[in-house]
């Protein structure tokens, strides 16, 4: 039974959301933060395959959830230090925040806070705060995922791009040398995605069903990483199909699993298996 939850409840979790299985051996931890995207809280297990890079992901914030970020108020001086993952940074001030270097300075994609920092040669660099309650990838990085495989210069195929909030951060990470192919089927979200892509030259918006990669084979080249956030019961098959078309040999994929979506009647452990 899918527990229903109203939006905007993400705010009552602090950033270090409750942790479940702390699998020291595997080195990964999962986020059980509640999100707003129409489902209830759930716990995920970290599954096999280091080589494949599969990570069971907790439900990070969905869209429309209020930002739980109370600490980052305007006027704070922040120090930016690089994160373990390349392309991602941490802003250290009164509160720590995960940030990415903005490709479009002066612009907020989803009203996120931006931090402007002056570096050595006097140039102003802008960083955008990555909200882990709205972005599953952000939540995973915050919870200490081993490897996201998304690095500057990488080519990423992002399935389930929605309105482009996470895609914008991925685009920041891969930078101008990389490419993000963002696939989204919904019209309304697609509109926002296209508007976001207008400002970023490395995002290629594709308004197509991810189940039929042959339909957009003309637009996509070979990619290094596939990030899948489609929340469908046959998401593994979708991923496999897309990988067969577009993933390079030796490439990686990152999959976000929502146990309710796989089979709402099974207990979540079984779904992930």
């Amino acid at each position: 039974m899918r527990p229903s939850m109203s939006r905007g409840l993400a705010a009552d979790h602090g950033r270090g959301a409750s942790r479940t299985h702390n699998n020291a051996g595997r080195g990964g931890r999962n986020n059980a933060g509640r999100g707003g995207r129409g489902g209830g809280a759930f716990r995920a297990q970290n599954i096999a395959g280091r080589g494949l890079g599969v990570r069971g992901r907790g439900r990070g914030g969905g869209r429309g959830g209020a930002s739980g970020r109370g600490g980052m108020r305007g006027g704070n001086k922040a120090v930016i230090i690089p994160h373990r993952h390349e392309g991602v940074f941490i802003a250290k001030s009164k509160d720590d925040a995960l940030v990415t270097k903005s490709m479009v300075p002066g612009d907020s994609v989803y009203n996120e806070k931006r931090i402007s920092v002056q570096n050595e040669d006097g140039a102003k660099v802008e960083y955008r705060v990555w909200n882990p309650f709205r972005s599953k990838l952000g939540a995973a990085i915050q919870e200490g995922i081993d490897n996201i495989w998304i690095a500057p210069g990488a080519r990423v195929l992002y399935l389930g791009a929605a309105s482009g909030t996470s895609v914008s951060h991925v685009s920041d990470i891969v930078g101008p040398t990389g490419v993000v192919y963002a696939v989204e089927f919904s019209q309304r979200s697609g509109r926002d995605l296209v508007n976001m892509a207008k400002k970023r030259a490395n995002v290629i918006p594709i308004i197509e069903d991810a189940r039929h990669p042959s339909k957009y084979r003309m637009l996509v080249g070979m990619v290094d990483v596939i990030f899948s956030d489609v929340a469908q019961p046959d998401q593994a098959r979708i991923l496999a199909l897309n990988a067969a078309y577009f993933l390079k040999t030796g490439g990686h994929f990152v999959l976000s699993i929502k146990a309710n979506c796989i089979d709402s009647t099974l207990p979540c452990r079984q779904s992930i298996r």
Binding site: A197, P205, S214, M218
Partner: protein, 564 residues
């Protein structure tokens, strides 16, 4: 065997050099690991580039539908002779077979070949480098997305927002230039500024006349009326302005030209705005008119943004300063913002403006949502709603007239609950309790008969009972308002209007059961109020009586005040 590969730059046809390798599907991947080994497996046979993005878009849409485009057919016919063709989509293969009689195949080995080719695309197609491919892909994806999202250039509300901004700018500029013309020419002919009031006429006259000595000879009938022309000619003779040289006059004339051309452009822009509004938001235009509709959209930022606002917001869009000030100081909030300029609100009597503004805001919210998110293009919904609103306005006006005409049967005039109606002099909590002889004559009523009627009919007493405490409350409100009248810079008549309208509105709209409850409550309050009044007034009267009498007195006082 040939392989059909689609790229954002065009169609590519590869020849498979070594068909034997196809049998070992798993090893095919290794073959493509380096460009040289890849070239040993496949070779580019033909490449047909897309001429422009339109062609690319057409080809892409056909691919999505698994059908062949003309360009593809031509390409295949020219280059694929007799061989088997490997395609990525079996449906496309069927289509090609039907149209072109070329045998198509789609299996694992073909897919593996595709993968390999895709990974080494830039090496295999010599003319296409990575940096060329990326912008092509980007451009094609954006056009494809626009096509998929049914982006129509007609329905872009940015045009409206820019046009209305430009209209305002033009008005300002036009005014500035016209004033400048007046000032400048006034050095030569100062009286003309007072004779001709309209800016455009002034500019035309100056342009025609130049030096004021020419005034007598020229004919101004196209621009001015007879009397004005006569005045002009008279003033030209006795003008006290000094002479100016031709060069100066020429410059003044050029400025006049500018003014005239700007005003023409403004008229043209207005027409353009009207036509755009009718295309983009026909229902909104039908309800409030083009100009107000455009201002609403510009204020909201976009049509979609505006569609997300509730009707109450739309009612006071544009009066934010007054709204927040009123909220902070706990006063009555404004009743209309931009909507005040709509024709429906304009043609309503002042007391009805608030009500109509609210109803209009509600209906226009619906119209906006219909325009922004709905599919159809016609304005039937807007027109229908406008008719409803006009009917409501007539209804309201009818009720007003009916009330002021008085009751026909000679029954006691039951005063509607009107908490904000001005009663009594300002500054007093209760009106001065002096005996007013003219109150007797109103409807031939005596205080005694009314009192008895109240005791008998408890239900009907609700309304007058309501008004007693209401009058108490409203007196307090009145004093507060009177004290702060200086601060008011809101729309004229707003405050007064609010008071009266709300009271009357409440009276009309309260449903029976609700009213009854209030009646019960009010009776209790009434007792209290009566007690208070007893302490304050000079002579004593029966409780109920007193509530009716002062109300009558207040009504009379109010009428007198209105007359003033």
């Amino acid at each position: 065997m040939l392989l059909l590969f689609e790229t954002p730059g065009g169609f590519a046809l590869f020849k498979v050099l070594d068909e034997g390798k196809l049998s070992k599907v798993e090893d095919l991947g290794k073959e493509f690991s380096s460009p040289d080994s890849a070239r040993k497996v496949v070779k580019l046979k033909a490449f047909s580039k897309f001429e422009n993005t339109a062609e690319a878009l057409e080809a892409a849409t056909k691919i999505i539908e698994s059908s062949t485009s003309k360009g593809l057919r031509k390409f295949l016919r020219a280059n694929c002779d007799g061989e088997m063709l490997g395609v990525a989509d079996s449906k496309l293969g069927n289509a090609i077979k039907d149209k072109l009689k070329i045998e198509c195949v789609h299996n694992n080995s073909v897919m593996e070949l595709m993968r390999g080719v895709r990974s080494q695309l830039t090496e295999l197609i010599s003319g296409l480098a990575t940096q060329d491919l990326a912008p092509m892909s980007l451009g094609l994806s954006h056009s494809l997305s626009r096509y998929k999202l049914k982006f129509s250039p007609d329905k872009v509300d940015t045009m409206i927002i820019q046009a209305i901004g430009l209209l305002d700018d033009l008005d300002k500029e036009l005014n500035t230039y016209a004033m400048r013309v007046r000032e400048w020419y006034g050095w030569h002919f100062p009286e003309l500024a007072k004779i001709i009031q309209d800016n455009i006429h002034y500019a035309k006259v100056v342009k025609l006349m130049g030096c004021r000595d020419n005034a007598a000879k020229l004919d101004f009938s196209e621009i001015l009326t007879e009397e004005v022309e006569a005045e002009l000619k008279e003033a030209a003779v006795i003008s006290m302005g000094s002479d100016v040289s031709d060069v100066d006059l020429m410059n003044i004339k050029e400025l006049c030209d500018q003014v005239l051309s700007l005003s023409e452009y403004r008229a043209q822009l207005y027409d353009y705005l009207k036509s755009r509004m009718n295309t983009i938001a026909p229902n909104l235009t039908a309800l409030v008119g083009e100009l107000v509709g455009a201002r609403l959209i510009a204020h909201g930022g976009s049509l979609l943004n505006l569609a997300k606002q509730p009707g109450s917001t739309i009612q006071i869009l544009g009066a934010e300063k007054a709204l927040f000030r009123a909220l902070k100081t706990k006063h009555a909030t404004p009743k209309y913002g931009l909507l005040y300029h709509a024709s429906l609100v304009g043609q309503a009597p002042p007391k009805m403006k608030g009500k109509i503004s609210r109803s209009l805001a509600a209906k226009s919210a619906l119209a906006i949502r219909y325009d922004a998110l709905g599919d159809s293009q016609d304005d039937s919904m807007g027109v229908e709603n406008r008719l409803k609103l006009e009917a409501r306005l007539r209804n309201l006006e009818g009720k007003e007239l009916g009330r002021s005409a008085g009751s026909a049967k000679g029954k006691p005039k039951i005063e509607a609950y009107d908490k904000d109606r001005k009663k009594g002099a300002g500054g007093l909590i209760t009106p001065a309790k002096t005996y007013n002889p003219s109150a007797d004559a109103v409807l031939g009523q005596t205080p005694d008969s009314t009192t008895r009627k109240f005791e008998v009919e408890s239900l009907s007493a609700e309304e007058p009972a309501k008004e007693a405490p209401a009058s108490g409350k409203e007196k307090k409100e009145k004093t507060k308002k009177k004290k702060k009248t200086d601060e008011e810079t809101t729309v004229p008549g707003e405050r007064n209007g609010t008071a009266e309208q709300d009271g009357k509105g409440e009276a009309k709209k309260k449903k029976k059961h609700q009213a009854e409850n209030d009646g019960v409550q009010n009776k209790d309050e009434n007792a209290e109020e009566g007690g208070k009044k007893k302490k304050k007034r000079k002579h004593s009267e029966a409780e109920q009586e007193e509530s009716e009498m002062p109300s009558k007195k207040k009504e009379k006082k109010k009428k007198r005040k209105n007359e003033d």
